[in-house]
């Protein structure tokens, strides 16, 4: 998933209130405090504040982990733009090349950059 210049509503739509679709409980100051089932809870930092956001997919640089109790967003590795889990990238940051889930600065032997 590419980062558009504007942030998708899931991110830019972080209103200071409870207008977000995925919220179950919320406060005007902290946004979502809990999410509806099957939504991912993510804490967005805006200045000094942290706003709870409920999403259907985690923002760039994070991956979602589903469990019966809650769904959370966890940071990918630094070199990943997006990832499937902690050790498997699905898209690399600029300057890195993806091969079998690993973002590498150079392609393995026998492979060329594309």
């Amino acid at each position: 998933m590419h980062i558009p210049l504007f942030l998708s509503t899931e991110i830019s739509g972080v209103s200071s209130g409870c207008q977000q679709g995925g919220c179950l409980t919320c406060s005007d100051y902290n946004g979502c405090l809990s999410c509806k089932p099957r939504f991912f809870m993510h804490l967005e930092r805006i200045g000094m504040k942290q706003i709870g956001v409920c999403m259907t997919s985690c923002p760039p640089g994070f991956y979602g982990t589903r469990s019966p109790e809650r769904n959370t967003c966890t940071k990918c590795r630094l070199e990943c733009d997006s990832c499937f889990n902690k050790n498997f990238c699905t898209r690399c940051r600029a300057g890195f090349y993806l091969h079998l889930g690993k973002c590498q600065e150079n392609c393995p032997e026998g492979l060329v950059r594309s």
Partner: protein, 516 residues
């Protein structure tokens, strides 16, 4: 063969767009259109034909009619998550020849829209998680030769969709977690030779075939946590490249001998929350990439595991077993060990641990250890925490702590000590000695300059640390001051916590003891 390595496309241009856009969306100059969360019921008109990223998530689009995306030949990423989508016309996605990422999670689909997906020949990532999918037709992913990442977690699958996966030789990451799968037949993933990650956690898997992972020659991560497995998954023998293995929170009672003999690259094994009663002594040998091993409650385990060539272990926890001795050569293999927790076993004696020079934390709590020799902890200059509580220690060699220059926390409570050596304890800030009823001597603060908290067997022993005039008779008081240095008593007493603290009702428990 020249396999593809992908470079992330250039970053988007800056600033709001003057590009062709729909009033219901905001668009950037690079062809990105964000129409999410606008209450839309259909795909908005007026978007640029060069749109390559379209976010329609969190709207009210419940159906996708035929050819609805026919005007977007350059679309690479389409997000339709969170729309209550229940029907996708077989021709709905026609024309999306360059689509790489399709997000359909958090919708109401009951089956995989296989007809609609058929011609997405460039598709690499397909998200179908958090729907209500009960069936995956065998032809579901037939046209998707480039598919690499597939999410089917959080649906209602009762079996592994073997047929639909049969032709997915390029698939690299698959999650079937949070479904109702109860068993994995042999050869279920036979053709997935490129698969690197397989998540099966939070299912109801009770039985797996001994050959169910056959063919997964490149698998590195296997997550079987939170299932109902009763037998150790022997099928992992087919996974020579496995690095992360999880089967915690199952019903596995024993880990057999040589359990991981075919998985030499294992780095992490999560196996806690299993009713383990037996662990084969040879289960964990030759795992040179393993960094942490945590085994709790294998109550029938008697032999210390053989850890030859498992020589990069940094943390070892073995507690709640019948292990009664530690191999003398333990530290020849485990030179990188930093934490060692052998609490709640039946260990009677300790070998010298001087080879484990990086040890920082040791817990031998709740064993049957009776004495500490001169060389038991010799050379452990990085050791900070040492818990020897709840043993039967009668004797500690006077030089036992000599080299423990970094030790800050020492717990010797609940033993059978009469005296303790304090040489070498210059860095100790917390010392626990309570529960040693034979230790009646007045302790000296002389060798404990950094002490901040101490628990002692008797209240009067606190007088050496917190100064209590009302308690000791004048002659004893002088002795105390002489031995601890008057001004030191004032300085220590201000920041020292000693328990049981002396008071009106516990002044001379020691004296009473002598009269009785």
């Amino acid at each position: 063969i020249c396999l593809w390595c992908f470079l992330r496309p250039g970053a988007a241009g800056q600033g709001q767009s003057t590009a062709v856009c729909s009033p219901s969306c905001s668009c950037d100059e690079d062809g990105g259109a964000d129409c999410s969360g606008r209450g839309l019921t259909t795909v908005p008109a007026g978007l640029s034909a060069f749109t390559y990223y379209l976010d329609l998530s969190m709207n009210n689009i419940t159906e996708l009619p035929a050819y609805v995306f026919k005007n977007f030949p350059y679309l690479e990423e389409l997000r339709l998550a969170g729309n209550d989508l229940s029907f996708i016309h077989p021709e709905a996605l026609s024309g999306l020849h360059q689509l790489k990422v399709l997000m359909l999670q958090n919708n109401q689909l009951k089956t995989v829209p296989s007809a609609a997906l058929k011609n997405l020949h460039s598709l690499q990532s397909l998200r179908l998680d958090a729907n209500h999918i009960t069936t995956v037709p065998d032809d579901s992913f037939e046209g998707l030769q480039q598919l690499r990442h597939l999410w089917l977690d959080d649906n209602n699958l009762t079996e592994v969709p073997i047929g639909s996966l049969r032709h997915q030789a390029n698939l690299q990451a698959l999650t079937l977690a949070l479904n109702r799968i109860s068993q994995i037949p042999d050869n279920a993933f036979a053709n997935l030779t490129s698969l690197v990650v397989l998540h099966l956690h939070n299912n109801r898997i009770k039985e797996i075939g001994d050959n169910c992972f056959a063919g997964l020659t490149n698998l590195e991560t296997l997550d079987l946590n939170f299932n109902n497995l009763m037998v150790f998954p022997k099928a992992i023998e087919a996974l020579p490249k496995l690095k992360e293995l999880g089967f915690h929170s199952n019903d596995i009672a024993s880990i057999p001998e040589g359990a991981f003999h075919n998985n030499p690259l294992l780095r992490t094994i999560h196996l806690y929350d299993n009713p383990l009663s037996f662990v084969g002594a040879s289960a964990f040998q030759n795992l040179s990439d393993l960094h942490s091993l945590m085994l709790r409650g294998a109550s029938m385990m008697q032999d210390f595991p053989i850890l030859t060539w498992t020589n990069n272990l940094e943390s070892l926890t073995l507690s709640g077993t019948k292990i009664s001795s530690i191999p003398a050569d333990l530290c020849e293999d485990l030179k990188l060990l930093r934490t060692l927790d052998l609490s709640y076993n039946e260990i009677k004696g300790l070998p010298s641990l001087h080879g484990c020079v990086r040890l920082q934390e040791i817990s031998f709590q709740h064993n049957h250890i009776q004495q500490i020799e001169r060389d038991t902890f010799q050379g452990l200059s990085a050791l900070r925490l040492l818990d020897l509580s709840r043993n039967e220690i009668r004797f500690i060699h006077r030089d036992a702590f000599l080299t423990l220059t970094a030790l800050t926390n020492l717990d010797l409570s609940m033993n059978s000590l009469t005296v303790i050596p304090t040489t070498g304890l210059s860095a100790v800030s917390q010392l626990k000695l309570s529960g040693n009823p034979q230790m009646k001597n007045v302790l000296s603060a002389k060798n404990l300059p950094k002490l901040r908290s101490i628990s002692v067997p008797y209240a009067y022993q606190c007088c050496a640390f917190v100064g209590c005039d009302s308690v000791t008779s004048s002659s004893e008081e002088n002795d105390v001051k002489k031995s601890t240095g008057g001004e030191d008593v004032e300085r220590i007493s201000m920041i020292m916590h000693c328990s049981p603290s002396p008071g009106a009702f516990k002044p001379c428990e020691h004296l009473l003891g002598n009269w009785m």
